[in-house]
Amino acid sequence: MVNPVLFIVVPLGLAFAIPLLKYISKKIIRFVPALAFLFNLIFALRLIPVVMDHQVHVQIGGFIPPLGINLVAGPVGMLFVVLIALVGFLVSIYAFHPIKEKDEDRYHILYMLQLTGATGVVLTGDIFNLFVFFEILCLASYSLVAYLGNRAGIESAVKYLIQGSLGSGLILIGIGLLYGQFGTLNMADIAGRIHSVQSISVYVPLVLFITGFGVEAALFPLNAWLPDAHSSAPSTISAVLSGIAIEVGLYAVLRVVFTLFGITHMMGLFLLLGVLTLLIGELCAFSQDNIKRMLAFSSIGQIGLLVFAFSLASTLGIAGGFFQLISHTLGKALLFLAAGYMIAHTGSMEIASFQGMGKRMPFTSLAFTIGAFSMVGLPPFMGFPGKFMILKAALHDGQMLTLILLVFILIATVIEGAYFFRVVQVLYFAGEDLPDRERAPVAFSRFVPMFLFTGLIIVLGIYPSLITDLLDASALELLDRPDFIKSIIP
């Protein structure tokens, strides 16, 4: 069994080493991220059976939890670690071709730091440590959004940075308030001392945390930065931002809401918030002509759906939410990579410019289509079991509010279908009269990740039971708060 701390330390160490590796050979740098995340992927997968049995706790520096920092590798944490490593590995294969001529090494360093920050957030058991890793993730994201150095990128990065660091500041105030009251920073220890959220002095940190992490998780109305940032970043980074960064933000919200504060009431509010986010995202996505902005708005919509699923606060709902989260990560990463490849070929982000792509880039178009179908929730792709599980959980919940909101979710799905089919239609059926141009040249490194993402979406769509055990265990970890506390602070 590998020590979970290595999932953070190995990519971090390799990121630190890249400037030195540059002296040996400039060529090998681009393979370093792939190597790091392949390591993470292999060993994280091997750790999964262990954490299904019992949580793995790691102390840092040899001090027992409330004193030192600890890592908690439970089902939720390992689920995210595997997801981050998987997306990190595949997207870094895509980046074997340089994004920009200069500063290739900085791109790879920032990319690794971003995903290392994400891994740290999902593994740590200490609230301040979570904040530190969250900052790594955010700072790397700001820099990568501005990486291309064009007007759009810089402007989006500024907006993102202002909103993001405002959120971080609020989180820090929240941490200060909690430390002042409970005198500890360990999440399980704090959770053990919070018996109810009635008192205002506990309620205020909760609101601060949800607002702060909500910026990164793109909860409505804190998501104004998202469409700009996701559309002006390089495509590989868009894939990571949409597939990993906002999900990690959502993880932080979940951890705070379920584990740290143990809220059971007020869920109606979150259900409403989720559906509102969903509707706004999908409606805005519908009215976009720019493909990357459309995908970015679709991410907002999907986050809304996830928030709805998690707010059901039942095993079924949370497991469904996690399934949909994985489906969104894989699907959106695939969509951004495919769209990025087409954009690189046509030089335009307008949807209309993709006419006839079905002939010129058949494989990429097919990958995009499969991703789009999975997003909409068509069988046999991964989106179908996800949405189906959420639907089932909502019906099982049976409250009036849930059922009303369910109608809106179905409407949102129809809108989602409409705009994705519009793109697919442009890809295959528009521009019949265009002269037959040659097929685009095939770049191996671009096809491998798209092929693997497509394969995963289909396999998990047909056999969702491959991961449902892990998802149920994850849901249990979030819902069974006393057990979580007792396992860390005996």
Binding site: E155, V158, L161, G169, L172
Partner: protein
């Protein structure tokens, strides 16, 4: 009045936080917004330090023998502030460089005029 004397440090820290937030929300100039962030951050650091303060306490450093451990202020908030300051510096540096780039691209730092990106 009692409240004021009891909580002077908190009030000072929170005032800085509120002033910083006001600047961030209202000001148009990107440089002023960055200064607002600096004030906001400073307020947070002061608040964290105030949380760990002990009346008539000394620094938690056993620099000479015979110091009373019971009279020392809480070292944890100080460690947190150290970390937070470094993070603040990092964010500030990035913000400044982005402001320079904004100026190079747009010729202005007015945030209301910089909105090519629309929903």
């Amino acid at each position: 009045m009692n409240f004021l004397s009891e909580y002077t440090y908190y009030i000072g820290a929170f005032s800085l936080i509120i002033i910083g937030l006001y600047i961030i929300l209202v000001k148009k100039n990107l440089m002023k917004v960055i200064i607002g962030f600096s004030i906001f951050d400073t307020g947070i650091y002061l608040f964290l330090i105030a949380v760990g303060y002990l009346r008539e306490g000394t620094a938690p450093v056993f620099s000479k023998p015979g110091l009373d451990a019971g009279k020392m202020v809480d070292p944890v908030p100080q460690a947190l502030v150290l970390t937070a300051i470094v993070i603040g510096v990092a964010v500030l540096a990035l913000a400044v460089i982005l402001a320079i780039k904004i100026y190079a691209h747009y010729g202005t730092l007015n945030l209301r005029k910089i909105k090519e990106q629309r929903w």
